[in-house]
């Protein structure tokens, strides 16, 4: 019986394809315009300005370095929302590539994720600069933050894989996700603290929204605080979503691509 492609070992040719597809993605953003890239970078800053202007008086008085607090939340939620939406849409658009070439589908998914994740890392760098500016930066916390960043990236990849498959089965998933993901800006503690909301809302926001533990733990570390519960929670969520994403992808990719 012919080997299923995903069961084949990852070869040098696969690596070459990943590099070239990713290079093409990067060339396209540079090619389109540097300004386009700057706009996407200015997006979180514009949002920071607006949220700061609106919420600083109500929520920001008791939060030290409130702009930094806001920015980390905005960057993380933005990254999750944009990456998942973009990967889901690109995956669907790449169906002709999947049914006409032997390129592994996970490579196509990863190459589409590269731009969003690259932008995320650049934005995080900006957060670190701001953290330094506020005197919150600590090398120990920085080292502790690296596993969380990695975990957040694999969490996004896992969630995107699941959403990309779902979008092949039902085309309105993309639209439903767009609606749902907008709510994330309110059900994630971006401009408020968890202690500011009622007990039941806190439980809901923390346990039903998988982005919250990542935001709480990474923001804590960038602001010089360490919270063991959210730290471990984030790491386990990353591993869980990655395993779920890979499992779903490998078992459903053939059916999804044929159905799309």
């Amino acid at each position: 019986m012919m080997e299923k492609r995903v069961e084949r070992p990852f070869t040098k040719a696969d690596w070459n394809s990943l590099v070239e597809l990713t290079r093409a993605q990067f060339k396209l953003i540079d090619h389109n315009s540097i300004l386009g890239f700057l706009w996407s970078f200015l997006g979180p800053l514009a949002m920071l300005a607006v949220t700061y202007a609106i919420f600083s008086a109500r929520f920001g008085e008791n939060i030290p370095a409130y702009p930094l607090y806001l920015l980390v939340g905005i960057v993380m939620v933005n990254c999750f929302v944009n990456s998942t939406a973009q990967i889901m849409a690109s995956f669907y658009c790449a169906i002709p590539l999947m049914i006409n070439t032997t390129v592994r589908r996970e490579i196509i998914l990863a190459s589409h994720a590269s731009i969003s994740l690259y932008k995320f890392l650049l934005e995080l760098l900006f957060c670190l600069v701001l953290s330094f500016f506020y005197g919150k930066f600590s090398p120990t916390m920085f080292v502790l933050a690296l596993p969380i960043v990695l975990s957040f990236i694999v969490f996004i990849l896992g969630a995107s894989a699941i959403l990309s498959l779902a979008n092949c089965f039902a085309r309105d998933v993309e639209h439903l996700w767009m609606l749902l993901s907008r709510l994330l800006f309110f059900v994630t503690p971006i401009f408020y603290e968890l202690k500011d909301i009622s007990s039941w809302a806190r439980q809901l926001v923390y346990w039903c929204n998988p982005v919250t533990p990542f935001v709480v733990s990474l923001r804590g570390l960038i602001m010089g605080r360490f919270d063991m519960t959210s730290y471990l929670h984030s790491l386990s969520l990353g591993v869980f979503f990655l395993a779920l994403g890979i499992g779903a992808f490998w078992s459903l990719e053939d059916t999804a691509v044929e159905r799309a």
Partner: protein
Amino acid sequence: MNDSCVMANDLSKHFLVLRQRETAFRMIKSFIRRESLMRKLSVLSHVSFEIKRGERVAVIGKNGAGKTTLMRLLAGIYKPSGGEIHAPVDPKVLLNFWTGFSLDLSVVDNVYLCGTIFGGERMVLSRHVHRILEMAELSSVSHSPVKRLSLGQIQRLSLSIFLNTPGDFLIFDECLAFVDKGFLQKSDGFINGHITDDKTVIMASHDGDFLKKHCTRAIWLDEGRIRMDGEAHRVISEYERAVFEQAAV
């Protein structure tokens, strides 16, 4: 020379096609009511054949006969619904000449991109870029975006990259539909010169003369089943006669 390159045994493929547009709500409703939103469409049924290493095989048949599906199965892109395929060699496939191109990138960038998709390496491709562009007659527009090229030029580029990247088992489908006679002659020469006897080739086309010139064997697919399998000239002539008779009716 006589060892097997591909063996298909009782191969079948069906797809589930939608009765109506699939939405999340309809999926939930059909799950609750235990009604299927899909119906089964059989594309290939009980197809068996063996292709030896070094054979050049034409796959012919009307549109919808199952040629492309068969090629995707042989390439490992689709999983069979029934039967099995033994394919020890990874094929290099060209099923759609525009696939793999990034239209906003330049012709040269696309040589690297597509070349890698066909299994080439950047270092090796950089040595062949000039030859690929010369063959495609696109040296003068090498830095233009591919979206500025005509359909025929894109097809020439695609074929030039495909034929200039390494591979012992080639599968290509309907690749010469839009090219001019000059390029067709060039492709003829290239196929004769570069596709040596140790390479296995499976090609589908509606150009009977091209297939007769380059293939030693032909498999005629009709409504997902093998209608005839044998010497290329004989099978292709029979197929053309049947098509002609059907058109006359």
